[in-house]
């Protein structure tokens, strides 16, 4: 059965069942990843799958069901299950479908270039990465993870109100994780890159960066507890800001699950802080012309010069607040498609030079457990280097940094101009941002 045949079948069954309107969201993905260790293919994954999300409306309520099978039985199951699910809904909030109105950006997101690479070529890239990392220095004792991957997605949303939109996107990534040691206490060197085109994938550079960083970390020590200035490198800042970005979701704000509730049009950060949602960056594989409601996406300033300008809405939360959707629907909530921070004036090297004493944070861990987007509090593990008089002096490990994200926004003293694409913990959102200096953060150590 083709998707169009399946769609016609589902729509007709749904009408008979008594749904007023309904929608199918087809999500077709291809994920590829190869990992090499000791010159051997340790892991090779090639996964193609489709998912079809059904949403049916009756009165103000909606029922949902998902399937991975396109056949007659499955069409019946989707409708039956969704109907049963609709019956147990108690919330008075009105549900919607979008009719396809509005301007859909024509984005050039897909070329199929990654699909044309053969498995053997990708294995070679991963092997090359390992070879460069291993050969970099005799203190590189192991390179367990040499990974090259890419994925492609095609989504189509079609409903009985006349909406029928689709897009494709793709992207690639590579990362290298290695162990550097002069004895007992191994340190990890790590580097990940995300790219749009295969030719941008410089695996040798990834290997060199990881190796260099691993070696620099040897001999790291903890620090006495106290308040410190932090220079948070952009990859670490991407993880923290990415995790806390759910605070901007109107759904969370309406449910009082966000520390930003009641702060619209108020100052929440320093003048230097501007945060943008840019769903249209052609260099990002999380960009998209419409959200999961099928509503057109748009570029917007969420925080402008420290002032909170908007929350992120889907159709349902927008109706509740009496505004229009911002095109940020993601599943049942809302979120950034790409979170962008406007750059400042100083390069990364100049940032290091311009602070008298600080900890340069190059990585953080435990974000999912130690950052609470309800209160904004964070307490996470961190590592990096001590910077004194504008020079990196020694590596630092086994410290935690703690505080509240809104205090961090208010204590940013410098914003760099070293903007680049970084991964966040969400597979649906990349970050494009610079490194920042934050004053007076609680650090715990020995």
């Amino acid at each position: 059965m083709t998707f169009d045949e399946f769609k016609d079948r589902v729509f007709s069954v749904a009408k008979k069942k008594g749904f007023d309107h309904c929608q199918l969201h087809l999500d077709n993905t291809h994920e590829f990843e190869v990992m090499v260790c000791d010159g051997k293919v340790d892991r090779y994954k090639d996964a193609r799958h489709l998912k079809i999300h059904f949403k049916g409306l009756k009165g103000d309520k909606a029922g949902f069901a998902v399937t991975e099978i396109m056949d007659e039985d499955s069409a019946g199951m989707l409708v039956e299950e969704a109907y049963e699910n609709l019956k147990v809904v108690e919330s008075p909030d009105k549900e919607f479908l979008h009719d396809g109105s509005g301007k859909y950006e024509d984005l050039k997101l897909y070329t199929g270039d990654f699909e044309r690479l053969t498995g053997a070529e990708k294995i070679e890239l991963a092997k090359k990465m390992e070879k460069v990392a291993k050969g970099y220095d005799s203190r590189i004792v192991k390179v367990p993870m040499n990974v090259v991957g890419h994925f492609g997605v095609t989504e189509r949303i079609v409903n009985t109100l006349g909406l029928d939109v689709s897009f494709s996107n793709e992207g690639g990534y590579a990362y290298c994780s290695l162990l550097a040691s002069e004895g007992d206490n191994p340190k990890e060197g790590f580097k990940a890159v995300v790219v749009k085109k295969p030719e941008e994938l410089d695996v040798e550079e990834v290997a060199r960066f990881a190796a260099e960083e691993g070696i620099k970390k040897i001999g790291a020590r903890s620090l006495p507890s106290g308040k410190y200035t932090l220079l948070i490198r952009r990859n670490a800042f991407a993880q923290i800001l990415g995790w806390f970005s759910v605070m901007f979701s109107a759904e969370r704000v309406q449910k009082k699950l966000s520390p930003l509730a009641g702060k619209l049009n108020e100052r929440i950060g320093v003048e230097k802080l501007t945060i943008i949602d840019d769903p249209h960056m052609e260099s990002s594989f999380t960009s998209r012309p419409f959200d999961t409601d099928g509503y057109p996406t748009s570029r917007k300033r969420v925080v402008e010069k420290g002032i909170l300008k908007t929350f992120l809405h889907n159709l349902k939360t927008a109706h509740k607040d009496g505004v229009t959707s911002t095109g940020n629907a993601r599943g049942s909530g809302a979120g950034f498609m790409n979170i962008v921070v406007e750059p400042g004036l100083l390069s990364y090297e100049e940032l290091i030079k311009s602070v008298e004493k600080c900890i340069l944070i190059i990585d953080v861990a435990g974000i999912h457990a130690g950052c609470d987007p309800i209160s904004g509090n964070y307490s996470i593990s961190a590592e990096g280097f001590m910077v004194e008089n504008g020079e990196i002096t020694y590596p630092v490990e086994q410290i935690t940094i703690s505080g509240n994200i809104l205090d961090m926004f208010k204590n940013i003293s410098l914003v760099g101009n070293d903007t680049d694409l970084e991964l966040t913990l969400s597979p649906n959102m990349l970050a494009y941002l610079p490194s920042v200096v934050v004053e007076s953060v609680d650090v715990a150590g020995k």
């Binding site: 192991k142 435990g366 505080g403």
Partner: protein, 460 residues
């Protein structure tokens, strides 16, 4: 689930092109999830997943491909691709498939796929009621999740096995607010059971636990920062062992020599009061199964005995690399992931102390009553995890609640610093994320004391 002849043809198609071992994993999973906010069901979703994963080995290399196009042509073509990617054809033929029906240790009384949604919603209302019974609670989110997963696993060594895994879970998150401060309380028990689980676990009590936690924490001061003794309560506290040690005992990192515990079998790696096991055979436990996701019968594996490293958790692929048998630890989230060695129900065994004795023996420190999640780097042993309900211990007594603490350390150091182990073993449920996806896993321990740990908090 899939025609037996087709299964055989798929396996043959792999070996015909290359490799020396082939496996097929067929999965059908039906799940229900319901979300309730402030006592009202907001969204209910049903999901049907169905797909196939095909894997081949050639010596110590492996190739995996998956699809949910399960037509004969698509599967045979995918199998050939896997074989071709393995290159070299070996002189190996598939053995005749011999169907094995494992003894089902996990009997289900009320299958969730046969129970009405109203019944599930009723349970959620009880949980909501429990959570909202504390004065500072402003928001309660209750989630219910169940699934029935059927798998068929066959390989060229003649394995042909089917298994069914049923799981049910209730998760309550309560937010308390007072004087502009918000804190969260959480409880999320689950089991390899149907709705009979709620005869064992009272949903209202689950709610109360979450509500009480948030209510207490919202009035708490921030935890002090620094290095101090930490007592970790039983149950979900076992996440410390899971993160600090368990992941580094998985063959996934051991086989590559990328774990701090590689090559240390038979050596003393922990304090002698520490013994720990991984046991996937516990009837109806959250992390149990009759066979693992490679069709190997599950077992109880002793990891550490009186401080001595006794064993690793091994899957089929790494068993080749390490030259030791699989421990039935090959697991995966779904057919979309190749399996690898993972924990099931992993816990520290009970010791000799009553928990009260451990607290009384501690002059100053942190009592971590409820742990949140955490993570670890198996290569360096560096771990972190959050304390979502903590108390200060002063002069052998629990004095006041403290919030916002995180514990960090290195696994190989911390297990040497466990100096007291209680007699109150309990387990708690979590979802463990790693390279083969997110899977249900039990963590567990009795109350334990770590003589010193770095506590991340605020400076006084």
């Amino acid at each position: 689930m899939l025609d037996r002849n087709l299964v055989m043809d798929v396996l043959d198609a792999v070996l015909h092109e290359g490799g020396d071992f082939a496996e097929i994993f067929v999965e059908r999973k039906k799940s229900t999830s319901i979300a309730m906010t402030n006592g009202k069901v907001e969204e209910a979703t049903s999901k049907l997943e169905f797909g196939v994963g095909i894997r081949g080995f050639r010596e110590d290399e492996q190739i995996y491909a998956s699809t949910n196009d399960v037509s004969r042509d698509a599967l045979i073509s995918l199998a050939r691709d896997v074989g071709k990617a393995l290159k070299e054809k070996k002189d190996v033929t598939a053995k005749e498939l011999e169907k094995v029906t494992p003894e089902n240790r996990h009997l289900i009384r009320y299958r969730p796929d046969e129970m009405g949604k109203d019944e599930k919603v009723r349970i959620m209302h009880l949980a909501h009621e429990g959570a909202s019974s504390f004065p500072t609670i402003v928001q309660v989110v209750v989630r219910y999740w169940d699934y029935v997963q059927n798998v068929l696993i066959a390989n060229t060594e003649g394995t042909y096995v089917e298994d069914e895994r049923v799981r049910t879970r209730l998760m309550v998150s309560a937010v308390a607010s007072k004087d502009g401060v918000s804190e969260r309380g959480y409880d999320g028990p689950g089991a390899g059971m149907g709705l009979e689980f709620f005869e064992l676990v009272d949903p209202k009590e689950v709610g109360k636990k979450a509500g009480r936690m948030a209510h207490k924490m919202v009035s708490a001061e921030f935890a002090p920062a620094g290095t101090m003794p930490v007592i970790i309560a039983n149950g979900f506290g076992g996440v410390i062992f899971h993160e600090a040690c368990g992941h580094a005992l998985e063959a996934t990192s051991v086989a590559k020599g990328a774990s701090v515990f590689a090559g240390k079998l038979g050596q003393k790696i922990a304090s002698e009061v520490v013994s720990a096991v991984d046991d996937a055979t516990i009837p109806n436990a959250w992390g149990s199964a009759n066979v693992d996701d490679e069709g190997t019968p599950t077992q109880r594996t002793v990891l550490i005995e009186n401080g001595i490293l006794k064993g690793y958790l091994v899957d089929k692929f790494n068993s080749r690399k390490m030259g030791v048998p699989s421990t039935g630890s090959g697991r995966r989230e779904s057919y979309r992931y190749p399996p690898t060695s993972r924990m099931s129900n992993t816990f520290i065994l009970p010791g000799e102390y009553h928990p009260e004795e451990i607290i009384a023996a501690t002059d100053y420190g942190l009592y971590a009553k409820t742990m949140g999640g955490g993570s670890v780097n198996p290569g360096t042993g560096e771990f972190n995890f959050a304390v979502i309900e903590g108390y200060l211990i002063e002069k052998g007594r629990i004095t006041k609640p403290v919030r916002g603490a995180i514990l960090i350390g290195k696994g190989w150091e911390v297990i040497q610093k466990i100096d007291m182990v209680g007699n109150d073993l309990a387990r708690g449920q979590g979802m463990c994320g790693s390279i083969s996806g997110s899977i249900p896993a039990d963590v567990g321990q009795p109350t334990i004391r770590v003589s010193e740990l770095i506590v991340g908090g605020r400076n006084r």
